[in-house]
């Protein structure tokens, strides 16, 4: 029952997002699509007559709104997100072409920051109020105060330019020829270090604080005392009793922070010219490529909402109490 109502809720959310995406270009003051109908519009979007025709056909501005909406929805279901003005290709194709790099970046960073965040958070809670806890707390508060793009640029300047140990641009060396697949993997990892480090550092705070708070709460619970009254060792109690309970809220919140991380790629990929979807969004903004921009918006938003949905589902499976309450 719980799962079904959740499913319905997320379905409504996706519907709302799709509708926002539909209405945005049509509802903007001064008609944001004026560049389509009027070649002399003040928004400087240069395109050929042929492209204009494709776009006009996609938006179908001459048809009634309800018909436009139906066409739009059917298009979405078929995977038609429109036509990119700048890349002169279907939006979905452009996005999927970049997807691999974003997945690599987000995947690696997520794995690292969750592990690190949980470990540091648990360490901090375990050492509550002592030097190690305070040191970690203040360092992580400080790092979290940096906007991710600023942190990225600082890392690029220090490790990429001054020390010159990591590349600061792209996902692979341009025009490289590799003698072995291993060499290629190394090159990719080498390029991944700084963007991933930036993402990890600027997002670790969320997981760290959650874990710390959650763990502090759990350590004060009566059942921890019960476990100790049984004569169990501190290590056993930490692993078997405290961690499982403390991790429950982390699961949900972590999937949400994956959402933040996906947003973070917009900045980090821009700083490091990493050829993923975030960088694509920056290009779309710079070139006023509205169809592409909207396509990416839809793609990112649904990915983030999807992550939240998965989090909810995992939580239901993990916590034996949820199904009964």
């Amino acid at each position: 029952m719980h799962q079904i109502s959740k499913l319905a809720y997320y379905f409504v959310i996706v519907l709302i997002i799709l509708s926002i995406n539909f209405s945005l270009p049509r509802a903007m003051p001064g008609d944001a699509l004026s560049y389509l109908t009027d070649p002399g519009a003040d928004i400087p979007v240069r395109m050929t007559e042929e492209k204009r025709e494709i776009l006009l056909a996609y938006y179908g501005l001459d048809k009634p709104l309800s018909e436009q909406y139906i066409t739009y929805m059917v298009g979405i279901i078929r995977g038609d997100l429109g036509w990119s003005i700048y890349y002169s290709a279907p939006v979905l194709e452009v996005i999927l072409g970049r997807l691999k790099w974003t997945l690599i970046l987000v995947g690696t960073s997520t794995a690292i920051y969750i592990t690190l965040g949980i470990l540091l958070g648990a360490t901090s809670a375990w050492a509550r109020g002592r030097k190690r806890d305070m040191g970690l707390l203040i360092s992580i508060i400080s790092i979290s105060s940096f906007p991710s793009f600023f942190l990225g640029i600082l890392l690029a300047i220090i490790f990429g330019i001054k020390l010159d140990i990591f590349p600061i641009s792209g996902a692979q060396t341009a025009f490289a020829t590799y003698s072995s697949p291993l060499e290629e993997i190394f090159d990719i990892l080498h390029h991944l270090v700084l963007p991933a480090a930036t993402l990890v550092l600027s997002h670790i705070g969320g997981t760290y604080f959650l874990m710390r708070n959650s763990m502090l709460g759990v350590l004060g619970e009566d059942y921890i005392m019960t476990a100790r009254a049984k004569g169990l060792s501190e290590r056993y109690i930490l692993h078997k009793h405290a961690l499982t309970n403390a991790l429950l809220p982390i699961v949900t919140m972590t999937a949400m922070t994956v959402g933040f991380m996906i947003m973070g790629t917009i900045f980090v990929e821009t700083v490091f010219a990493y050829p993923g979807i975030g960088n694509l969004l920056y290009n779309a903004v710079s070139y006023n490529d509205y169809p592409l921009l909207q396509g990416i918006f839809l793609f990112l938003t649904i990915a983030i909402v999807g992550a939240n949905f998965i989090a909810d589902m995992i939580y239901i499976r993990l916590d034996p109490r949820v199904n009964h309450e």
Partner: protein, 279 residues
């Protein structure tokens, strides 16, 4: 821990005070008119402490005036968000039916990812600080509304609110006299959280080129520096990019410290002598 709280709180307050003074007295503090054009790309000197940018504006003066813009946006958004969020939270917590409706809206708005939506809307509309403020406000009220509501629900369960009702206090009187004073600490903490969020989000939008090109905030100064092709290959970043970046960092840090100190003061974790692990 108690000591740490006081020290961090004072440091935070100190940092914020400095920035507020800079913002208020910008015309007296800035050495030059930020729109005045001098020789472009000058290195720091006694007449231009942080040099000049690509079109010859004095960078220090730009940053001093930028303090105004950055803090203004954060302040206005946070104040309005708190007013709207607190009122709706109070109403939603006190009247069940309206509350249910408000909370469904809050759920939906909170589930839709903020940043992508703000980016996509911002790129359709002409960027100006008022547009940015309006965009941030769409989301800003939701979190305080949710938190205030759940606090009101807890407060309502306390007996004295029913007692007041029995002696004939009106709903408004109860909300105003008994519930509001109890949620003020939460509102203050939420205000700070929102301010942090807006400072970071605004700078992010500026970085992507979606800021107001007329009202130069710290983020915009940073954006133009990042767009400059020679920023990495010379030392220009040290006076053009680092100072606005650090201003953002220190403001956020100051707000975080104050927020942390307030939270620890208002909501001290019950020191349970039976709890916690022995080592």
């Amino acid at each position: 821990m108690i000591e740490g709280r006081k020290i961090l709180g004072s440091i935070g307050l100190g940092i914020l005070t400095i920035f507020v003074i800079v913002a208020v007295f910008a015309p007296y503090i800035a050495p030059h008119d930020p729109h005045q054009m001098y020789r472009p790309m000058e290195h720091p000197s006694s007449s231009h402490l942080l040099g000049t940018n690509d079109i010859g504006n004095d960078i220090l003066s730009e940053i001093v005036y930028g303090t105004r813009v950055s803090l203004f946006i954060a302040f206005v958004v946070s104040v309005i968000s708190m007013l709207v969020g607190t009122s709706l939270g109070l109403v939603a917590g006190y009247f069940d039916k309206v509350g249910f409706l408000i909370m469904r809206v809050v759920d939906v708005v909170l589930t839709i990812p903020r940043l992508p939506l703000i980016i996509v809307i911002a790129s359709f509309i002409r960027p100006s600080i008022w547009n940015l403020i309006a965009l941030f406000l769409i989301f800003g009220w939701t979190m305080p509304a949710r938190i205030i509501r759940s606090e009101v629900l807890t407060l309502r369960r306390r007996y004295y609110i029913d007692a007041t009702k029995m002696i004939g206090g009106s709903d408004f009187y109860i909300l105003w006299r008994h519930i509001l004073p109890n949620v003020i600490p939460l509102v203050v903490v939420q205000f700070i959280m929102e301010a942090i969020h807006v400072i970071l989000a605004e700078s992010g939008l500026c970085f992507l080129g979606l800021g107001d090109p007329v009202a130069m905030s710290w983020g915009m100064v940073f954006h133009y520096a990042f767009e400059c092709p020679i920023i990495y290959v010379s030392d220009v970043w040290m006076w053009w990019m680092l100072p606005p970046g650090l201003c953002i960092v220190f403001t956020v840090l100051g707000l975080t410290f104050v927020g942390y100190a307030l939270e620890e003061t208002f909501n001290p974790k019950l020191k349970n002598p039976f709890g916690g692990m022995e080592r």
